[in-house]
Symmetry: C2
Subunit: 357 residues, 2 copies
């Protein structure tokens, strides 16, 4: 029997060599996220990260460390990247979706891993994607210590891919923030989002491409002539550095009572996750300017305003519920750290709900 | 404008309520994996796991802990589950692929997170899948502390789904096993696999369904009349308990010199990952019985034997390279812990390769 009659793995659709080439591509980007706590193993089966308990710095910070772990993807935002063949930013979104969740509980990110699944390994686009992940890790002060790229031609359509991220961080046990201390009179601060972040893309794509018949390359008058694809691909803002820095300023846990990362479900869905059942969060919509991209989607749909608030972040990507006496000084600090901060509401007696006014 | 003209998230293909229903379904299975180190947050943004440094037991075990993290999927094995509409075991495979990687470096698993992405949320099949993940976590002595289920109708075909897993464990810094101590004369022990585990499914499916035109429901004479779907869906063996128990017996790091989890690339691809460049691993094929499923695939393809060894585990799912003086006592212990153990080869001087004899 001649060689060509034998079936091989490559013929059945999986290319091992392309995978190897790609690993070379991304090694530099990955290594750039590594600090001294990463232990590098050539061809290792796992990523290794020292907790450094024998070092003074760490010892002082964590007497009773709790590991905090998150997993999330970026939803169908990756489809926008595919449409304009740009993969350098969705990795930032992937990191953002995970680390912004983690800091809600007071944790600081330590390390990150990514899982990419594709129809066919295209070393260049995978390398772009992982470079984005590495860029996100740098913004979040965490090390990219592992990842997996799976080639699955039978599950993903030609050109399709998906990605999942995993982040691990640490928080001192006595400083875990859960929202249990939220009380009547507390002030709700909102940090501006950079756009849609990574939620609501199924609806946004439906509005733009099916309903309005737009193309990703179209310029949008209502958005000051910006290219639609660029607007939709704007990376998710990563709030790690300002929040970690802020929390380090306060020894008392009760100053920042709760935080929420505004993802799927919007302000209406995410704030209740950290509200005691005896409080409401009263949000005044006029207290911040809703970014033009949301008005554009709302009018183009059209979509009811209540649905907009249930699906999109509407301009607020992260929320802090703080003790009233500290509200202005916290807002001032966060502005100094580069955030755009709005006082978007207050806590009242209630039943664990968000009331939009 | 009437209500029905408004676009909603549900109309565009994402069902938020189905997601909520599903969360209720799986809560019990998830909670069953939790020990006292898991901190439960209702609706939390992240999973929390105590490192317990203030407790005697942990203090004694880890003076200088290193976190070990892995991410992996199960490849296209999930397609077999879809074909016979059985999702209760692929979660075990998902855990196995990650925790078997981690123990290679001497770590013990602490916790696990899963990411499931589907075309459409079907609460029953998702619940089955997560129950499988929970069963795997119990086998691996780790807690399932988080997960994400993403509904993405535009990325996954109808009925298609994918899953990624993420495991974190811990190892004492001085006890990390890397293979650096492997030397001439060491003995290679192989632990029997339970079948294909989670690799080579693109080729296996191609052989069975395209080439041979079989159906998942067919019974296979060469496999003692077993149903093809059941054979292909056999869960990946989890080696955590025997390996963690074994390593706890030896204070000296040099007894177990290296280990390898035999995944994609087979013995040929995975053993070199822990071999020094001055050693070869000489493997004697006749030292263990290749399971019938591999002979069946090889003949049905047909597939060259060398390609079989490059794609499949060929009956050996996990390998230990051990000091010769300890080889028989280690084999004896592992048998006592329930493993089927073969002496499959020895280490010689060489160039970092596997030589099949």
């Amino acid at each position: 029997m001649s060689k060509s009659e034998y079936m091989t793995y490559e013929q059945s659709g999986v290319s091992i060599d392309a995978g190897d080439r790609m690993v070379g591509h991304i090694a530099g980007a990955v290594a750039s996220t590594h600090g001294p706590r990463v232990i590098t193993l050539e061809n290792g089966f796992a990523g290794l990260f020292r907790l450094d308990y024998d070092e003074k710095l760490f010892k002082r910070n964590y007497k009773n460390p709790v590991l905090v772990a998150c997993t999330d993807g970026v939803g169908t935002k990756i489809k926008i990247g595919q449409m304009i063949n740009r993969y350098d930013t969705v990795g930032i979104d992937l990191v953002a979706m995970n680390v912004n969740d983690m800091i809600v509980h007071g944790a600081e990110p330590l390390f990150f891993l990514d899982y990419l699944a594709v129809n066919k390994l295209e070393p260049e686009s995978i390398a772009q994607t992982v470079e984005g992940v590495a860029a996100g890790c740098k913004q979040a002060n965490c090390a990219l210590i592992g990842g997996e790229t799976a080639e699955m031609p039978d599950i993903y359509r030609r050109g399709e891919f998906d990605m999942a991220g995993f982040a691990v961080g640490v928080v001192e046990r006595g400083k875990i923030i859960t929202g249990a201390n939220v009380q009547k009179g507390d002030v709700i601060l909102g940090l501006a989002s950079s756009g849609l972040h990574s939620n609501g893309y199924t609806l946004a794509r439906d509005i733009c491409f099916n309903k309005a018949g737009l193309k990703v390359t179209d310029t949008i008058d209502e958005l000051e002539g910006a290219v639609l694809g660029d607007v939709l691909l704007e990376p998710t803002r990563i709030y790690v550095k300002p929040i970690v820095k802020l929390l380090a300023q306060y020894r008392v846990k009760k100053v920042v009572r709760a935080m929420a990362h505004i993802t799927g479900g919007g302000l209406l869905g995410n704030i209740p996750r950290v509200l005691p059942k005896i409080c409401n969060a009263v949000i005044k919509k006029s207290n911040w300017p809703v970014s033009e991209v949301f008005s554009f989607l709302q009018e183009t749909g059209p979509v009811e305003e209540s649905e907009m608030f249930r699906v999109f972040n509407m301009g607020i990507g992260f929320v802090l519920i703080v003790a009233p006496d500290f509200a202005s000084s916290i807002a001032k600090k966060l502005k100094r750290y580069g955030e755009t901060v709005y006082k978007i509401g207050t806590i009242t007696a209630g039943t664990g709900k968000v009331v939009l006014k």
